[in-house]
Amino acid sequence: MTINHHPDQATLISYSAGSLSSALALLVECHLEHCSECRQRVREAENLGAQLLASQPTEQVDEDGFFARLTETEQLPPQQAISGRKPRPKMLQALLAKGEAEVPWRWRAPGLHSYDIKLDDSRLKLLRIAPGTHIPVHSHSQSEVTMVLAGAYQDELGCFRAGDVADLDDETAHQPHTLGSEPCVCLVALEGPLRFQQLLPRLLQPFMGL
């Protein structure tokens, strides 16, 4: 998988600090599976995080109580390494493992289906955009980060294919359309509602024959 678009460095830094919303952290982890470059950046930020943690003033801790628990705790064999990944919501797991046919898509507009995963602090949206679909110009009231899982789309910023991440902030307006003959399936981590620029946008008119 060749990756051309990565999460913003600030997003990777916040991932390392554990301070992303759950939706965005899940999305970043999907990207990290495909991208050694970003894994390296995350590791650098984790090193800094560890140093920041170590530079804390100290708090008093309970040594005897801890030692008692330690003596009751068995060590695990070396092959049981720690998985750093967040537990994935079922529908996301199904989508990643078996593809978009697994998802009970809801119709939103011509060419556009979605499925919402509500998390404690944010929303992870799964999007399925039919070939030849055109999304009207919109910007975002907060942040929106998109990762392509299958198919491709294009907007003012370029062409986004599987593994690519579009990390937009609230000042960016864009107008994406799908590429190719496959549906474009994306993950979208949302913190705020979409804000359409036109009152009556040429909303979701599929244009055929790209």
């Binding site: 301070s19 943690l53 804390q56 801790v61 040594e63």
Partner: protein, 190 residues
């Protein structure tokens, strides 16, 4: 800084954890605990935990480190980074929303002095790189230091920092990048 014997350097903590993983020596692990748990607890309190919750979570992270010590591999991550990721993951598994609500309650009174804390903090860093880090943080422009502080010490998302500081999201992200890159340059990549 007035206390006790000199602390082992980072390399020795790696060695310590490797040996704990191979031999299961509890006394040796307690040395690791005595060094890291007090800092871990302080960090968890900063993230919004009450003292007893922070203590419990620090112990859990330490027990997890003990259980998994046999799979610790210093060529992949240093002992402190490994422990940091364990604690960070435990914290985020707690559920951000609930944790946030507590944070905001705990924070209301402390809000005014949120960031100056970085400058006023009693840094207790026996190791050279920690002194360098404290000095480096103080050298950052205020906005960058604030953003780094809220991101790493308070677990705030970009949007939360933006709302808190009255900045556009884009400025939060660029301040975070700039501050982070400067810090890395100043302390050297570990």
């Amino acid at each position: 800084m007035s206390t006790a014997a000199p602390e082992p350097a980072e390399r020795d903590w790696n060695q310590c954890l490797v040996e704990v993983g191979q031999g299961g020596n509890k006394e040796q692990f307690m040395a690791f605990y005595r060094h890291f748990a007090p800092r871990l607890k302080a960090w968890l309190i900063g993230q919004g935990g009450q003292r007893d919750q922070a203590e419990e979570l620090a112990q859990e992270a330490m027990l997890k480190a003990w259980r998994h010590a046999p799979s610790f591999d210093p060529s992949k991550a240093s002992a402190s980074t490994w422990l940091y990721t364990i604690a960070r993951n435990l914290l985020s598994d707690l559920g951000r929303k609930q944790q946030r609500e507590q944070k905001f309650i705990a924070r209301q009174s402390a809000e005014q002095e949120a960031m100056p804390a970085v400058e006023q903090a009693q840094w207790q860093m026996p190791e050279l790189d920690r002194q360098q880090l404290a000095a480096a943080l103080k050298q950052l422009p205020n906005r960058q230091a604030q953003v780094i502080y809220q991101c790493f010490y308070q677990g705030r998302s970009h949007s939360e920092i933006a709302a808190n500081m009255g900045l556009p999201l884009g400025s939060v992200k660029s301040s975070l990048r700039l501050g982070f890159n400067k810090l890395c340059e100043m302390v050297g990549k570990p």
